[in-house]
């Protein structure tokens, strides 16, 4: 079986977000880029599967849609343990353009298990996995928190209200994963980092895409109000503030 893990390149979660051009473009100056945390966990689980089922998984490919500047992030995925990588040379504008480019890659090369994160920590769109499944006409399972090989099927679990749903699925399919799919993202080791240099990273030109969305502008969230400290003895004051100022009770 062949696994494809879709990875997006996102600002480190501690980045101070700034915008340019009247709040229409994200200012990437000085930003540290990381693998989207959900994707990193998906990749970790893919590697665990390959290790646990020697022979069953032949290959793990990672794919990223991004300009050349995303290559350090892709190399990191190779250092963590992906076998090869594809970069689609496009600065993606929205979920549809991402899903379309991915679908073209998947149509060209047959993958059995396609994993993507339920969302990316930058735009939190939560749309790519579903769109991809539609474009390819593949089954998809969302909010997957467990995946393992079970005979010639795959066993998945997803969290549902008050419990878990256990699903058996045949390949090919799209697993849209959430946190919990792997315990901790795997940290690359030194040998992995050395080997990553020589693993294949193929650059593919994008197909043309119609854009259906346009960023009008971004807004910053409201600045957090200063923290008010209330003496533990003064419950009245606390109730008063919660009721009249915060208006939560």
């Amino acid at each position: 079986m062949k696994i494809l893990v879709c990875i997006s390149n996102v600002p480190d979660t501690t980045t101070k977000i700034k915008f340019l051009n009247n709040n229409t473009t994200f200012d990437s100056a000085g930003v540290q880029w990381i693998i989207n945390p959900w994707d990193e966990l998906a990749l970790t689980r893919a590697i665990e599967l390959k290790e646990a089922h020697a022979g069953a998984i032949e290959n793990i490919t990672v794919v990223n849609i991004g300009p050349p500047t995303t290559e350090p992030t892709i190399r990191k995925a190779l250092a963590i343990g992906a076998d090869n990588a594809i970069r689609i040379n496009l600065d993606p504008k929205d979920a549809y353009s991402v899903a379309l480019q991915l679908s073209e890659i998947i149509k060209k090369d047959s993958f059995d298990i396609i994993l993507c994160g339920i969302e990316s920590s930058d735009y939190n769109g939560t749309s790519v996995g579903g769109m991809l499944s539609e474009l390819l006409d593949y089954p998809s399972v969302s909010a997957v928190s467990f995946i393992d090989i079970d005979g010639d099927q795959l066993k998945l679990k997803r969290e549902i209200d008050g419990g878990q749903e256990i699903i058996g699925i045949s390949t090919p399919f799209i697993g849209i994963v959430q946190k919990g799919i792997a315990k901790d993202a795997r940290i690359p080791n030194m040998r992995g980092i050395m080997m990553a240099k020589t693993k294949p990273l193929q650059v593919v030109e994008p197909v043309s895409t119609d854009l259906y969305t346009d960023f009008v502008s971004f807004d910053y969230p409201k600045a957090k109000a200063a923290c008010k400290k209330v003496d533990p003895e003064n419950v009245k004051e606390l109730v008063n503030l919660l009721h009249n100022e915060a208006k939560v009770i």
Partner: protein
């Protein structure tokens, strides 16, 4: 995505001089330290316990012998990568870094540089994975700064040597599976050899009561008529230059390592000072606190430049012992001063283990003494300048 807040200062944009690979190494070791060292290192330090569960992981992660070629189990990385690994480990704890320094520079390096092919094949891959732990015995109870005066000795018995003597202040001594031991032969020439744990007549008692490097094991190595097979002796080195070249490699790593401790103290203190208010404003707003930070950042930046250049020289095979002494001496003193100064920024909070500062400060008291004391390194520089040894 670590939850531990940390901004490593890079005032002169040194990152631009590092490769993507170097940066990934740093990010990876930093993430490992955040996940595996930071959460409970204070507890190990307090209980004076060696976090032995970390050894295998460090091995698997390639933190031992990173510059040793891949065929012997190393990662085949350059010296800057080695330095970066030391820096990040020491940000966690100097004791963890010491463990890795000893394993890499004082055990794997001499086996690689001076050992026979059999010794390399037998020990290096297992030392790299952490399956075996090593230690390095040079210092003796009566010979610290003057190792040439050592009395530990071997007598030639035809197909083997008989080793007698004692080593003191040996990192990893009680947990080591194999000791690199330096002893004089009958002609008074220093020879290096490998002595395995469990060899008859060899014991390694622990040294207790350390108030520094408490998460690292220190002890003695005692040799009482120990049989050392001739194939355990390093064939390719004779004289003090053997241990000295190991120390060079370790000192180089220390010069990088302590920057990690210094940056951890600096970063934590700046963060604290911006939040802590006295006299109605953050203490970071007072000139006297700003002086501490400005000086600390200046010294960290200088230290960073020093080791990066030294790393380039080492990669090119051009670094001299004198240059390494200068960097070790300068950077350890820099880190110790910063730890002491930053501790004061925290006021009373600074003496608790809620913050890493006091632990770093206590650890660095060892680091300024081992691998050549602060004073002795000055004498090495003095010798380099004048050509006149002022040691005796």
């Amino acid at each position: 995505m670590s939850e531990i807040q940390y901004n490593a200062p890079d005032y002169y944009l040194m990152d631009d001089l590092l490769s993507e690979e170097h940066k990934l190494i740093r990010e990876s070791v930093r993430a490992w330290v955040d996940r595996r060292v930071k959460p409970d290192i204070e507890e190990y330090f307090e209980k004076s316990k060696f976090p032995s569960h970390l050894i295998k992981e460090m091995g698997e992660n390639g933190m031992f012998g990173p510059f040793i070629p891949v065929e012997y189990g190393g990662a085949g990385l350059d010296y800057i990568a080695y330095g970066i690994i030391m820096q990040e480990l020491e940000r966690g704890d100097s004791g963890i870094r010491s463990m890795a320094s000893v394993q890499t520079s004082l055990v794997m390096y001499p086996i690689y540089a001076f050992g026979s092919e059999e010794q390399k094949k037998k020990y290096l891959p297992k030392l790299a994975t952490g399956e075996l732990i090593g230690c390095f015995g040079l210092t003796e109870p009566n010979h610290g700064s003057d190792p040439g005066g050592m009395i530990t000795n071997v007598k030639d018995k035809g197909d083997h040597y008989i080793l007698n003597g004692a080593k003191m202040w040996i990192t990893n001594s009680t947990v080591a599976d194999v000791a690199v031991v330096w002893a004089k032969d009958e002609e008074g020439i220093v020879r290096g050899m490998l002595v395995e744990k469990g060899t008859k007549g060899f014991t390694a008692p622990e040294t207790h009561g350390k108030l520094s490097l408490r998460a690292s094991v220190t002890g003695e190595l005692v040799f009482d008529d120990v049989i050392v097979p001739k194939e355990n002796v390093f064939p390719n080195v004779k004289g003090l230059k053997g241990p000295m070249s190991c120390l060079n490699s370790a000192r180089y790593g220390i010069a990088w390592g302590v920057i990690g401790a210094a940056m951890d103290c600096y970063d934590a203190a700046v963060r604290y000072a911006l939040e802590r208010k006295q006299f109605g404003k953050p203490i970071a707003g007072f000139q006297l606190q700003q002086k501490k930070f400005a000086e600390a950042l200046t010294e960290i930046t200088k230290a960073q430049l020093l080791v990066l250049r030294l790393g380039q020289l080492r990669n090119e095979g051009k670094s001299t012992p004198g240059q390494i002494s200068m960097a070790k001496r300068n950077n350890v003193a820099m880190a110790l001063n910063i730890a002491r100064e930053m501790r004061q920024v925290f006021g009373a909070m600074g003496i608790t283990n809620d913050f890493p500062i006091m632990r770093h400060s206590m650890n660095l008291e060892s680091v300024i003494t081992y691998e050549g004391t602060h004073d002795v390194h000055l004498l090495i520089t003095g010798l380099d300048i004048t050509g006149i040894p002022a040691f005796k």
